[in-house]
Amino acid sequence: MQQIINFLIKNSYKLLFLLLLGVSLTLTVKSHSYHRSQYINSSNAVSGYTYNQINSVKEYFGLRQKNEDLARENARLKEILFNKKDTILESKIVVPDILSTYTVRQAKVIKNSYSKQENFLTLDRGAFEGLKPDMAVISDRGVVGIIEKTSKNFATVISILHTKNPLNGKIKNSEHFGSITWDGRNAGYVQLIDVPKLATLKKGDTIVTGAQSAIFPENIPIGKIDRIFEEKATNKYVINIRLFNDMTSLGYVYIIENKKKLEKQALETETEKDPTKK
């Protein structure tokens, strides 16, 4: 016993080092292995408050850009308003007007990241304003991400620039869909994989969110086709998409809640559980 205590005292420095190394490596590996196991994140009160303060200073430098964005969105909303009555033009509206299914809230990005493999954003609204995990986050130009965690006054968002983001997309005006992934290299581009070879597509086609997602409404723009690759082994397309959003500069975003999400998910799990029943 004496010897064990002596050993511990003698090697306390090394043991402390190994203990701390173990803790930090566990945190690192956990943060990479699956995106839901983030223990250390910036939606807590202290860092949320700090980023809020920093952002309120930064906002002064981007006022001109913000005004332009608002004016552009106003113009588009007016266009929709004026066109609505007597044309059959396809609506360009980003937020679907099926108010019975979707609720839209507004929030501000107070912390942005785009240079890592797993990127998260922090918003200045939280559970208090009704934000919950797994709500869709979009900006006036297109998809931004999905809410990951909320605290009372803040929320973190998995960016579309996350190597494990759970999104799916389809080619506009067709029903061919695939999964959106990110290769972690360039913040302006994401990839659409698993698109069947039967799909007709060309450079410049618009990619929008698919209908099977319970989180995003259908037809929210993601980006434009930039390059198309063919994967020989699986006979499927891999498409490089230029994002409509500039993910390096995000201001105000909209949070969309699908009120019928639970109903849809419950039905789907029930169906998958007994496929034999008729």
């Binding site: 930090s24 240079s115 972690g184």
Partner: protein, 168 residues
């Protein structure tokens, strides 16, 4: 001893504040980020309690992780740098460093440049390897390490020069 502790505590808070409030907002070319906060580890007094040193460095990294949403990447890099700092001191100043009381911030000579540079390089290499965490991105890890090392080094040297007159 007591004044040393207070000095380090102030350094800890000031460097983290500068890092989070100012430097995290600066992104040269989109992703090159200077990490000034490791100056805390570089400047920590040499003949002080070793366990306290690595614990303080670990906390430093953990606070950074808290603000950067990066798991334990900064904590690991800081801890390893603190643990291997005697090795870098030996590499830069020769074996006799323990007998002299070197104050790293005192005068900027070639020895000190070597020490600061190698420490930053090591920290950034660990940091970016863990952050990118993929073997096929090895060239990206290396370019990021080298470019960020240069920026951190320049900013560290400038801040050491700025702090120095107060100490005399």
């Amino acid at each position: 001893m007591n004044s040393n502790f207070i000095l380090n505590l102030i350094r800890f808070i000031v460097l983290l504040t500068i890092q989070i409030v100012v430097l995290e907002q600066v992104k040269f070319g989109g992703w090159i980020n200077p990490y000034l906060y490791i100056l805390f580890i570089i400047l920590y007094p040499i003949n002080s309690n070793k366990s306290g040193f690595i614990a303080a460095s670990f906390c430093l990294g953990l606070v950074m992780d808290l603000f950067c949403d990066s798991g334990g990447v900064h904590a690991t890099a800081c801890l390893l740098l603190a643990y291997f700092r005697p090795g870098f001191l030996k590499f830069a100043f020769g074996l006799s460093y323990e007998y002299q009381t070197i104050r790293i911030a005192e005068k900027l000579s070639v020895d000190r440049f070597t020490f600061i540079m190698s420490a930053i390089l090591f920290h950034h290499l660990v940091l970016f390897s863990l952050e990118l965490y993929r073997f096929d991105l090895i060239f990206e890890i290396i370019t990021r390490t080298i470019l960020s090392t240069l920026f951190t080094f320049i900013i560290c040297i400038i801040s050491i020069y700025l702090i120095k007159p107060n100490k005399r």
